[in-house]
């Protein structure tokens, strides 16, 4: 055990409601007749479909290839026939459709040929690729591709590898049950991540309201003779936030502007570690996950659900009660209301909660902020939410950034404690999305402006060159006229030309030079502007990576159709920074 825990400021203690769903072991959800597997299930690039309608696929077969480094592959969750690759409602509060592979299960559940790999026998780069192609992403809910987090920073060795089994969201027990039942595989999986990061110490943090999970993990660590520390951390939401858990276990605070590896620490969820182990040691890509089904249901329980299973099929397993009025995906603090039960289970679906008006009463009316500061006291990132609220309301987005809006992790503690019942998180999301969209507009406008200015400069230059040519021609003609009797070659003709050039076309020559200088300066300025960090430095690491990936793709797309020769210099391709 560790001698000292560090704690974090803020946080709240809502009712945990975890007991009902841990009464039974993890069940295996029955195979649905049809699965709808969205291609884009992780942060980063959307995988490209690799199968066609009518094709037969086997369980674990790659159906979507990772697009770029920050992206993760998607696989067929069972064997069957691809019916279509079409738009299907996505696991998102908007309920908008996303490109999905529809598979009709054949009931055989026939695996692909699985290759077992010992990660120690391969180069780290190769292991990362395998993890990417096995679709291993953060299963805590963020779905960030794990391989992209498995590179240590160049200058800083990884001191601590934090394994997150805190599971602080109320109602949710999927990690708890996974640790209770499959502790050994988790502990074996940790070795993969530890080796890839060359981490010195492994700390497994579990909220102390899960004594069974702590005991199971300790037992597994002991049995496998590893030196990992299994640490019970005080139960306080959001202790399971990566940054909070890192703070509690190591005392390090990772700001939004830095990646945790820069501080010599990295954090992975227990379920992620488990899937990484299955991917390498069993050759099984991520085709299912543990989902907690709880809330207003008669049979709350954790289920091993194939990705792509429509939520209505999962929900039916719990026998929801008659007064069920809504379903949440994720926990009650950070989850969202499922707009349509046709939505499939995806890698980020850690929990489905049936809600009733009794369980989640409608929000009381929003009152004005009385600046009581309860939100500031509850904020685990020590922000001043009420100030951010005033600025967001006033659309004073510059001020929101000054007050660190991008350090907000949207944990919901502020809204939870607000006596005025202000949906603070919504205001912050609104402000963030406004800032992002303005950034995009500004960047587009800047690029257009740079293009316009460069074109002007080029036209000026061309005109000047033309003037020069004309002047030279005129000068030549004058010389010819001056010495008509001296024949084609005039010995004193040169000075005359020089004179001529010295008299009238000097201004032209100067103009040319000036235009050239102006154009060069303009190019340099445009480059400088593009190279400068834009107004998004408050973004967190994941958002930065996302943006970098988007920029890279955009640059590639622009470079491909061979636009004006000036453009490439104005729009340098910023390579995704993740792979470094």
């Amino acid at each position: 055990m560790l001698a000292q825990l560090f704690g974090f400021k803020g946080g709240v203690k809502p009712q945990t409601n975890k007991t009902p769903s841990v009464q039974q072991p993890i069940g295996v959800a029955p195979l649905p007749p049809r699965l709808f597997v969205p291609l884009h299930q992780s942060i980063g690039g959307a995988p490209n479909p690799l199968v066609q309608a009518g094709e037969r696929v086997r369980k674990g077969q790659l159906i979507g290839g990772a697009d770029g480094w920050v992206s993760a592959a998607v696989h067929a969750p069972t064997s069957g026939t691809v019916l279509a690759i079409e738009q299907h409602v996505a696991a998102h509060p908007s309920g908008l459709p996303t490109l999905s592979v529809v598979i009709e299960a054949d009931g055989l559940d026939e695996w692909i040929d699985r290759r077992l790999i010992d990660h120690r026998s391969l180069a780290p780069e190769r292991v990362r690729e395998i993890l990417r192609d096995a679709g291993v992403v953060g299963l805590g809910g963020a779905a960030f591709p794990s391989h992209a987090k498995l590179t240590p920073a160049r200058a800083v060795p990884v001191e601590h590898l934090v394994i997150n089994g805190a599971e602080c969201e109320p109602f949710m027990t999927c990690d708890d049950m996974l640790m209770r039942e499959r502790a050994e595989e988790i502990v074996r999986g940790i070795a993969i991540f530890r080796d890839l990061l060359a981490a010195r110490q492994v700390l497994i943090g579990i909220e102390d309201n899960k004594p069974e999970a702590i005991a199971a993990m300790q037992e597994a660590v002991r049995r496998l003779a590893e030196d990992y520390a299994v640490v019970g951390v005080p139960t306080r939401y959001p202790a399971g936030g990566a940054k909070q858990l890192i703070r509690v276990l190591t005392g390090k605070e990772v700001p939004a502007s830095k990646r945790s590896t820069e501080l010599g620490v990295q954090c992975f969820n227990v379920a992620t570690v488990y899937t990484a182990y299955r991917a390498l040691a069993h050759g099984e890509p991520v085709v299912s996950r543990i989902v907690t089904l709880t809330g207003n249901v008669r049979q709350p329980r954790n289920w091993d659900v194939r990705l792509g299973t429509p939520m209505c099929d999962v929900v039916a397993l719990g026998a929801p009660m008659a007064d069920t009025s809504c379903y949440l995906m994720g926990g009650p603090m950070m989850g969202f209301e499922i707009p349509d039960l046709a939505i499939p289970v995806v890698k980020a679906t850690n929990c489905i909660i049936a809600g009733s008006p009794k369980l989640f009463p409608p929000n009381p009316p929003e009152m004005p902020c009385i600046r009581c500061g309860a939100c500031a006291e509850a904020c685990p990132h020590e922000l001043q939410p009420f100030e951010l609220y005033w600025f967001s309301r006033a659309r004073n987005f510059g001020k929101t950034q000054e007050y660190h809006i991008f350090d907000c992790i949207e944990c919901g503690c502020c809204s939870y404690v607000c006596p005025s019942h202000i949906p603070l998180v919504q205001y912050f999301r609104f402000a963030k999305s406004e800032i992002w969209s303005r950034e995009r507009e500004k960047n587009a406008a800047d690029a257009a402006k740079a293009r316009f200015e460069l074109r002007n400069a080029r036209e000026e230059r061309e005109q000047a060159e033309k003037a020069e040519r004309l002047a030279k021609a005129a000068a030549a003609r004058t010389t010819e006229r001056k010495v008509p009797s001296a024949g084609p070659v005039a010995p004193d003709g040169q000075p005359a030309v020089a004179d001529f050039v010295a008299v009238s076309p000097t201004s032209d020559a100067e103009a040319i030079k000036k235009a050239a200088i102006a154009a060069a300066m303009e190019r340099a300025r445009a480059q400088r502007e593009l190279a400068q960090p834009r107004n998004t430095e408050q973004l967190n690491a994941e958002q930065r990576r996302q943006i970098a990936a988007v920029e890279a793709r955009r640059a590639a797309a622009r470079a491909a159709p061979a636009v004006e020769p000036d453009i490439p210099s104005a729009v340098p391709a910023s390579p995704p920074r993740v792979g470094e």
Binding site: E253, P332, C369, C372, L383, D407
Partner: protein
């Protein structure tokens, strides 16, 4: 069901509950007031409450805001009670009504209502009335004045004449006036020992009212309705200046204990400088606000022309709140070592 937003769980808190607890916190002080000074304060509380509810309802209606939601949030009753407790207990009814309406209509609603007022409404009421009606605002019931409920009611309602004999000065005023008139021939210890208006450690009776406010304030602190920063800093600022001058010349300056339990010190410390709307929000800001208010309150009550300085001190600091808050923003998670 429409579009809903996380979190789906909310703590069992509300503005109404916060305000209700503030009112409960005032009860020990009010009880001492009724017991030792006289039951007229109950009438004043009632008058102020009714006036405040009327003013609030009127302004909500004019502004097109939901009436019941805001009338029942309790904030206006807190304002009303603070006004009643700050005014002289035998002040005529119309003075209390005037002050309350000014607080609610001008200081609160003209600035945008709940949560928007830059100045503490109760202190605005006090300041406006003491400037406009200095004589009425300085008439406090003389010690030993025995009046029936009906008698007190008649004075407040203006049915009985306001005889000068009925009214005296506050202990703070008494000490200041005596020192001024005495021109060095009287000293504080003698005054305290001889004059009937003084009790064990401050004004007779009033010292226990102040103790009641302290008790209620500590309860609010224990309930986490107020943080310790502003009250403690206020008490610290007031005591520090008082202690320095008292140590320098104990014949001319009363002790810090006297000042803490006189006038509006305790009411101010726990119920006025802790007002979240018009006060500072950062920890450092609360300390600066409280300390400065304490120092200014002492300065005004001892060297200024008014019997007490809490109201003016708080209003002055209300002005500085945006500036103080701006310069005292605490470092956030992960950025504590960066400058």
């Amino acid at each position: 069901m429409g579009f809903t937003t996380p979190p789906y769980l909310l703590a069992d808190v509300s503005v109404r509950r916060v305000m209700l607890q503030v009112l409960l916190g005032l009860l020990p002080g009010i009880a001492a007031y009724v017991w030792l000074i006289g039951p007229s304060i109950v009438m004043q509380l009632l008058i102020a409450t009714l006036a405040a509810l009327f003013g609030e309802a009127l302004m909500l209606w004019l502004r097109g805001k939901p009436l019941m939601l805001f009338l029942t949030d309790g904030s206006v009753i807190v304002t009303a009670w603070l006004i009643a407790l700050a005014f002289p207990p035998l002040a005529p009814w119309w003075l209390v009504v005037l002050g309350t309406l000014f607080a609610v209509v001008v200081a609160k609603h003209l600035y945008g209502g709940l949560g928007q007022n830059p100045f503490n409404p109760a202190m605005v009421a006090f300041a406006v009335c003491i400037v406009s009606f200095p004589a009425l605002m300085s008439q406090w019931p003389a010690l030993g004045l025995q009046l029936t409920w009906v008698g007190q009611f008649e004075i407040i309602a203006g049915l009985a004449p306001r005889i000068d004999v009925m009214t005296g000065a506050t202990p703070l005023d008494a000490i200041k006036t005596a020192l001024k008139l005495g021109e060095g021939t009287v000293d504080v210890p003698t005054l305290l020992a001889t004059q009937e208006v003084f009790g064990n450690f401050a004004g007779r009776g009033w010292e226990w009212v102040s103790a009641g406010y302290l008790l209620g304030g500590l309860w609010l602190w224990q309930r986490k309705i107020v943080s310790w920063h502003a009250p403690l800093a206020f008490i610290g600022g007031l005591s520090l200046l008082a202690a320095m001058l008292w140590a320098w010349n104990p014949l001319q300056f009363a002790s810090p204990l006297f000042h803490l339990f006189s006038g509006g010190s305790m009411l101010g410390a726990f119920f006025i400088v802790t007002d979240p709307v018009s006060g500072c929000t950062t920890v450092k800001g609360k300390l600066i606000f409280g300390f400065s208010a304490g120092v200014i309150a002492y300065t005004i009550r001892v060297f200024g022309g008014y019997p007490d300085g809490v109201a003016f001190a708080v209003l002055l600091l209300n002005l500085c709140v945006p500036l103080i808050d701006m310069y005292t923003q605490p470092p956030i998670f992960g950025m504590k070592n960066e400058k």
